[in-house]
């Protein structure tokens, strides 16, 4: 390709209009000005084209050159992604730190993957094998936790004519194929993929298995399936980031890609402090070894914020294609939508709602559509999944706004955060009345096989009890609690235990940061069985005071901080107490 050179016509914020490259195409990466700022062509007209610049444009002048690369905005894919912290356009931030010092200077052009680092490539194919797209030709131990599977890029097929084993850089050919028409194609560990295009798979499967996050209110009441999509909307300070960070740390995802999109620098600093320190429950290895972080904080260029989401989801799909269960976390998708709005405004597009462009719903849909459980392309046959969890930051905490409304159309679960709960420091502040999960039915089937047959039943009854209790509370607020009949006071008591002892869960430290499913089940069973039996006693005129005075009642609130065995003990103690009362009053608890 000849030199693709043009010049700047106009600069307005991060949007630059240029001329002089006749065949500039949408999505093409360009370098803008003498400093070579990175940008992408977002619109083409007859004699000019519009560039979204991913860096600060101050000091840029009309007339400065623009160079086209002829290439679409791509993510680099290959060993070396894991453990790395990238900015929104996949520049490694530690490398920027090394070169430019603690402040991000512009005009730094860097490869996402280091070209000099060597990886031990172990081939899984031999000369004469016929391989095609998605086939795994070899593996690299990328980190102690992640085996990186090198795949034949989509659209390629041929016979293996050469295989290399050993230490190699990402840019060397590890396998050479001969195609039908006798062309030789080298397969490298490094591949590229245009970020705005979903990666192909053989087949999309329905999700059947829950993503286990260890937070009771999510796992028990509003679970998300592996390959599903959930959003967590809430006003500032209600707990989006904490919830998502804890899922990044403790959930049973094999790989986590965390996008800090237009949020705080210190939150990234916190992840960087925690991830190398926290150990994966199964392997005992630091979780950074299975994580990629993208940090395009609120003070970094807005346009790169827009790109960061696509960078993240492309890397996530790439690992999904290897056969991993990947979780992508985007905090916050609202900042991404705002970036869309800002760029759209600079392009002079006609806004529809609250200044957002008409294509906002399409972009949201395309993003969440990239979640899924799939049968991957290629041999050996394997399955992967990509779960997408997005924070939504509605202005004023009011869910009636375009980003929240449209997001809800495309996700299967919503964890709605409630400022009143947050003010009371009831965390996670997920409101159990308005949150939902469409994955409950399929996940309940999984539970009955893997946890307990009656788990779904306990779940339903606990939810119902919470609803009934808020009705009773409304009455109590008029007549006073002391005027309520005993059975209603029992409902209030047990609802309180459910809220304090079950729904409320610290994410910060100790035993309770991750609650396994079997413990969740047993805790719920304890509370609900207690309720059933106590209810029966009260129906036989035993007083609520007698029940409330059982010393172990308040133990139900604290038992979450203790190991599984203690829950078991508490269960038998409680049942014994109730039985004693039953005997005292000559009531039968059976049936």
């Amino acid at each position: 390709m000849g030199e693709r050179k043009g010049y700047i016509e106009k600069i307005s914020g991060t949007v630059v209009i240029a001329r002089g490259i006749k065949d500039a195409r949408i999505g093409e990466v360009v370098y803008v000005g003498y400093e070579g700022l990175i940008g992408e062509v977002v619109r083409v007209t007859q004699d000019s084209f519009v560039i979204q610049v991913y860096e600060n444009t101050s000091g840029l002048s009309p007339g400065e050159p623009v160079y086209g690369t002829g290439k679409l905005l791509c993510a680099e894919l290959g060993p070396g992604l894991m453990t790395t912290i990238f900015d929104g356009i996949q520049r490694p931030l530690y490398e920027i730190l090394r070169r430019a010092g603690p402040f991000v200077r512009r005009g730094i052009r860097l490869n996402a993957l280091p070209r000099d680092r060597k990886w031990y490539f172990k081939p899984l194919v031999k000369i004469g094998d016929i391989v095609s797209e998605g086939d795994i030709v070899g593996v690299v131990q990328e980190t102690p936790l992640i085996e990186h599977r090198i795949m034949v890029p989509p659209g390629i097929k041929g016979e293996v004519v050469k295989v290399e084993e050993g230490e190699m850089t990402v840019n060397e050919d590890v396998v050479i194929l001969r195609t039908k028409d006798s062309k030789e194609i080298g397969i490298k560990m490094l591949q590229e993929w245009p970020v705005r295009m979903p990666r192909p798979c053989r087949e999309r499967l329905t999700s059947e298995v829950p993503l286990i996050v260890g937070q009771r209110v999510i796992d028990t009441f509003f679970p998300v399936a592996k390959g599903g999509a959930a959003c967590i909307p809430g006003g500032f300070g209600t707990g989006k980031t904490v919830t998502l960070q804890k899922i990044a740390m403790y959930s049973d995802s094999e790989i986590v890609i965390y996008i800090g999109c237009g949020e705080r620098g210190n939150e990234i600093a916190e992840l960087l402090k925690e991830f190398p320190r926290l150990h994966d429950a199964k392997s005992g290895r630091p979780i950074i070894e299975r994580s990629i972080i993208i940090a395009n904080t609120s003070n970094m260029p807005v346009s790169a914020r827009e790109a960061s989401i696509y960078m993240g989801v492309t890397m996530a799909e790439y690992y999904r294609d290897m056969g991993y269960h990947v979780t992508l976390i985007a905090d916050s998708t609202s900042r991404w939508a705002e970036a869309l709005r800002e760029i759209s405004g600079r392009l002079g597009e006609m806004p529809v709602e609250r200044g957002y462009p008409a294509y906002l719903p399409d972009r949201l849909a395309e993003f969440y559509e990239r979640a899924g459980r799939v049968l991957c392309l290629g041999k050996p046959e394997r399955e992967g999944s990509l779960t997408i969890l997005g924070a939504v930051s509605p202005p004023g905490g009011d869910f009636n706004e375009p980003v929240t409304i449209h997001t809800l159309r495309f996700v299967g679960a919503m964890w709605a955060l409630d400022p009143d709960l947050a003010y009371r420091r009831h965390f996670p502040a997920i409101n159990w009345n308005i949150s939902f999960s469409q994955y409950v039915d399929i996940i309940e089937r999984w539970w009955t096989k893997h946890v307990a047959k009656d788990f779904p039943e306990y779940r339903r009854r606990a939810l119902r009890l919470l609803v009934v209790s808020s009705e009773i509370e409304a009455i109590a607020s008029i007549v006073g609690e002391s005027a309520l009949p005993d059975d209603q006071r029992l409902i209030l008591l047990v609802a309180e235990i459910l809220k304090e002892g079950y729904l409320r869960q610290t994410a910060m430290e100790g035993e309770d940061v991750f609650c396994p499913l079997n413990k969740q089940y047993l805790m719920l069973k304890t509370i609900m069985d207690f309720f059933d039996k106590a209810y029966k006693l009260i129906r036989h005129n035993v007083s609520i005071e007698e029940i409330a005075n059982i010393p172990e009642v308040f133990e139900m609130i604290r038992v979450k901080e203790r190991p599984f065995e203690e829950v078991k003990k508490l269960y038998s103690k409680l049942m014994k107490r109730l039985k004693d009362i039953a005997i005292k009053y000559n009531v039968s608890l059976e049936g």
């Binding site: 016509e9 106009k10 600069i11 307005s12 209009i17 444009t57 101050s58 000091g59 840029l60 002048s61 009309p62 007339g63 912290i85 931030l93 730190l97 430019a100 603690p102 402040f103 991000v104 500032f236 300070g237 800090g260 237009g262 705080r264 620098g265 210190n266 990234i268 600093a269 960087l272 940090a295 904080t297 609120s298 003070n299 970094m300 705002e338 709005r341 800002e342 405004g345 609250r354 200044g355 930051s393 202005p395 004023g396 905490g397 009011d398 400022p419 003010y423 009371r424 420091r425 607020s477 008029i478 007549v479 006073g480 609690e481 002391s482 005027a483 910060m508 308040f554 609130i557 604290r558």
Partner: protein
């Protein structure tokens, strides 16, 4: 006319005529060669007055300039001088003890700063991997803050207030009392007054003089009758100085920005003049990013000893927390301290409504070795109990106190005690964190012990007044 040329000639660069239109704060100039995006221009009107401006849109045939300073009296006959550089100030240790306006001109009668490096006031984003996670507890001596909203060095924690409430008094008290335990070094203070009434400005200056803080303070002052557009530069000048003090001279700096509401109003004014598509309530859609470019300059950098702790103050229009200014601020800062008219009316100082207030970095600054082992639990329990107490109070208004259960009556009593003994203190009362926690236990002991479910047993037995005898 010739004197105008004289003024313009003092600066280097090209001088242009050819102003096509002046519209509000915007000026459109034609036929300019080599204009740079965001460069500073000097505009001299036929009245002989000079003003600054900034290029906000640059093309081959037209430059759009945002006028800083008074646009009144400007006509298309003015001269425009393109300086070829963005807005920069000189930074050196001479800035300490000094006062400047929103163009960084001295207003204390002393000469301007002539030494030191020139820095762009917009700053550059801190690389997130260069950040050190903040964790040093700052004792402000104010119980509500130290116990329940603990501030750490390098945090950005705003005060959300309403006009008429004592937010200035509170900010001054924090500036006066803030210390990191075990360290002698005092905070340097950079104070930015944005659209401030002169009485408010005088209050702060007097405070700094009386406490001796003025020696290690820099004041950037844009008063209510100063040019509106300079409000956009005032906080940026302050933070450029703060960055120099913190990351070059390695000092611990406390930056106070007040009132950020005036800043946001100025931003809206420009956006309207540019005929941009507004976001909520006429504020520009990019206000989040713009505010972030200020607030995110707080923090600590690995390998440097200094820090920037940022305390913006803003008055919520209509007292509404959901108004875009507090809302977007809360989405960026690491918590918020919210003042309440109701508490103020009850005569409580500081009137902090702790329930919707929050310090996100608190967890890293407290606990054994930092404050005290019971701190976190006491704070959690206070939040829980006070929110129940407030609920009980609301309920009692409907059903009367007798309609409440005995338990709720207990919480009601707790809420009163909490406000009277724990929350209330004098503007010159400086409590240690131990004193604060002891008062917290005293008010918690109003409640039956089994209500203290957020505190582990062993902590109760160690600190509850009942067991301490």
């Amino acid at each position: 006319m010739s004197e105008i040329i004289d003024i313009v000639a003092r600066y280097q660069g090209k001088i242009y005529r050819g102003v096509k239109e002046v519209r509000g704060n915007l000026m459109f100039v034609e036929g300019i060669k080599e204009v740079k995006n965001e460069e500073v221009v000097i505009i001299v009107g036929s009245d002989g007055k000079e003003r600054y401006g900034r290029v906000i849109e640059a093309s081959r045939d037209l430059a759009v300039i945002q006028i800083l300073g008074e646009e009144e009296g400007l006509q298309t006959d003015c001269l425009v001088k393109f300086t070829g550089t963005t807005f920069k100030i000189r930074v050196s240790d001479e800035v300490l003890g000094r006062m400047f306006n929103g163009r960084f001109e001295p207003i204390d009668g002393l000469p301007g700063i002539t030494t030191g490096e020139k820095r762009d006031i917009s700053g550059e984003p801190i690389n997130p991997v260069a950040r050190e996670y903040p964790h040093d507890f700052i004792q402000t001596g104010i119980s509500a803050i130290d116990c329940m909203l603990s501030l750490v060095r390098g945090q950005k924690l705003p005060i959300f207030s309403v006009s008429g409430l004592p937010h200035n008094m509170l900010a001054a008290q924090i500036a006066r009392q803030a210390t990191v335990r075990g360290e002698k070094e005092e905070f340097a203070v950079v104070f930015a007054g944005i659209g401030l009434r002169s009485a408010e400005a005088e209050f702060f200056i007097r405070e700094f003089k009386e406490s001796g803080a003025i020696e290690r303070a820099t004041v950037i002052l844009n008063l209510a009758d100063d040019p509106v557009m300079e409000r956009l530069m005032t906080p940026r000048i302050a933070l450029t100085i703060a960055e120099y003090l913190a990351f070059d001279l390695e000092m611990h700096v406390l930056v106070i920005l007040t009132d950020m509401t005036n800043y946001a109003e100025a931003l809206r004014e420009i956006s309207t003049a540019r005929r941009e598509i507004p976001g909520r309530m006429g504020y520009p859609g990019y206000m989040y990013s713009d505010l972030a470019s200020i607030y995110e300059r707080a923090g600590i950098i690995k390998g440097k000893r200094g820090s920037i702790t940022l305390m913006p103050i803003l008055t919520m229009p209509g007292g509404d927390l959901r108004h875009p200014i507090p809302d977007l601020t809360g989405y960026i800062t690491e918590g918020q301290i919210i003042l309440s008219q109701e508490l103020h009316a009850k005569g409580i100082y500081p009137p902090i409504n702790v329930l919707p207030s929050l310090s996100r970095l608190m967890k890293s600054g407290i606990g054994p070795g930092r404050t005290r082992e019971d701190h976190k639990y006491v704070s959690d329990q206070l939040y829980d109990a006070y929110s129940r107490g407030v609920k009980a109070r609301d309920l009692a208004r409907i059903v009367g106190e007798i309609g409440l259960s005995e338990r709720m009556r207990g919480y009601l009593k707790f809420a009163d005690e909490f406000e009277r003994k724990f929350l209330s203190q004098g503007p010159y009362e400086n409590r240690t964190i131990e004193e604060t926690l002891d008062i917290a236990w005293e008010v918690l002991s109003v409640l039956p012990e089994e209500e203290l479910v957020r505190i582990p047993r062993d902590i109760i037995e160690e600190y509850h007044p009942k067991y301490r005898g």
